[in-house]
Symmetry: C2
Subunit: 402 residues, 2 copies
Amino acid sequence: MGLNISKLAKEIKPSATLSLKEEVNSLEKEYGFTIIDLTAGQPDTGPTEDVLQALLEGGKLHKYGPVQGDLELRGILSEVINREIGVRYDPQDIAITVGVKSGIDILMKVLLEPGENAGIIVPFWVTYPEAVRLAHGIPCFVESDQALRPDPARLRKEVEENNIKVLLYSSPCNPSGVVYTEDELQGIAKIVKEKNIWVISDEIYGACVFHGRKHRSILSIEDMRSNAILVDGASKRFGVPGWRIGYVAGPREVIAAFTKLQGHINSGTSRPEQYAMRIAYTSEKARQATEQMRQRYERNADIFVNGLSQAYGISCIKPEGAFYAFPNIKKLFGTEYEFAGKRYRIKTSTDFRNFLLRKAQVVAVEGSAFGMDDYIRFSLATNEETIVNALGNIKSAVGELA
Amino acid sequence: MGLNISKLAKEIKPSATLSLKEEVNSLEKEYGFTIIDLTAGQPDTGPTEDVLQALLEGGKLHKYGPVQGDLELRGILSEVINREIGVRYDPQDIAITVGVKSGIDILMKVLLEPGENAGIIVPFWVTYPEAVRLAHGIPCFVESDQALRPDPARLRKEVEENNIKVLLYSSPCNPSGVVYTEDELQGIAKIVKEKNIWVISDEIYGACVFHGRKHRSILSIEDMRSNAILVDGASKRFGVPGWRIGYVAGPREVIAAFTKLQGHINSGTSRPEQYAMRIAYTSEKARQATEQMRQRYERNADIFVNGLSQAYGISCIKPEGAFYAFPNIKKLFGTEYEFAGKRYRIKTSTDFRNFLLRKAQVVAVEGSAFGMDDYIRFSLATNEETIVNALGNIKSAVGELA
């Protein structure tokens, strides 16, 4: 008898960005390349000094805290949600999590029976389908329209035909940069209510919307309280993904069940960071740093997408938020290039990613990881100089494509 | 159509100690009691100053780290395992986790197919059966002998009859305080190898063994490398359960699958704490603090168990490690007492727990939470004065039982 790991463990896909790292390292070693990394799903800046200092005071919270998260932080988040989304979630209706990932992982177990279907709007964040599979659910993909905007007709059809129990999306969207409008959210909410399904709204990029837009949440739509669950966190807003702070807010019975499961799954996240977040979410310095970051990424997006539009065969919608560009590269499929004496033909987004790596010394993430093989994702969470250099490299490499 | 949370979320039991807190609060409010809390699953002391200070420097690690955990810490843990257990696990064979809980949660998904059986040695830590259920596995309970020691004959029978795929136990044992001997581990290892099953060895109390014993690990037994997985962490050793630092070590393919899943489940634990642990695991101050804590809890165990043995109807095995006393109270079942004008009869460990709460103003955790209703668990992770006071209260309350 062989001793094997589970079928599930075999089937779960590794995170797309991880395997990339090895390829980058080997190109850097073998060819002496300096690769410009545009894969990062995180800000290039860190927390403000007051938030960093708070970690030391927070270290004194070394004992177990409430599994649901420290009440003081939940109180502050209740205010944040009220101010930014415009609805009242009491501290009891909020649970602090080990980042958005753990929030989604546990929610899947709370909301989905094994074998049930979860609808995921395409393009999607890489972890959604795997989180569904980890709960033994089945991911069903809901196509967006040509402009990568939510499509109510398709959504309704998919929910009906596949008997979808939970719907998942992010707005601002990672990877597309689309920010759902009030009308679009109303359209989704109508279907959610009519079919009486759960909807998980991932708003981790909510503090990063561009050109005077306002971030809207489905939670603010009338009658959504019993169906909608918010997942959000501090990683992008305060530049602390390594600190692992997220939260969920939703119907009280969902949060109670969530907390019960969290009590066995991980006991909640680190308390020093929970303490530091009390400072972060109330600090004027931290608020200003977030706003400066937002402005920088808005400018990066403008420069990068305007520049890309001059490159042959690439078209890109203008990001409305988050910090990515997600251009369509389908027109370049079928082209060929040479590298180190070998000829390559570009047939997929992974091929295009490899082309950029080899010929532009820029690394991005293939669109297939987000459910759309005709696209590629560039992270713009870096400084302007890097954006300009990457753009130059990409334009000249693409210009040489036959 | 009603919108419901999942069957799983409904069935998972809340942590036994949580519901207790509410009862304690209400007794304190209603009767002005000052309850002596002997439920804590954590040291009464915190980290040493050097470890606490390290958190601030660690805060600078605000970006995502490797999902498997920071390499520097894994390197140090590799040395710790080598020194303390006597076997070599490379940094590649170790993953840092959000405490032991997340380690076990993810391992269950890696090792167990839905519907498969996991063997849990009784008495057990409350989270084991729920972790199995969360992976849609079925917990099977393996009785110990009269002295609460592992029983190879029963284990073999249970593994065969129930086709057990994974075996789980803790040594030093929470709640019994039993520390498995080399012979006992050899006995378990023989069955594990013969039946070719996985074994998860929870050694979180490994630094707290009494009276000159040496902590032994099944990982050190020949031929166990491909079957055994260690789960351990910093919570008890350094007094930092609120910091959420655990780790797993095992066969390379298990750790690789574990890391892949962790990449979607929570991305790993907070990096500032990972940094602080580099200091903790190499600090002479921290080592001394652990040893002083061990000595205090050894003395507490001696005082408490010797004292208890004078109480009518209570018998308790001498704890060999961890920081609990787990006396048998079966002889007191059937006795009665009066409180606030009402008469109560003690029929279960929960009844006895309530009796202690009301009549001795001491709170402990009922044995049923650990799979043995004839027992009750007292935490000794407190100061000597509290132990002496609790003992006095318990003895006088039990003395009045009819």
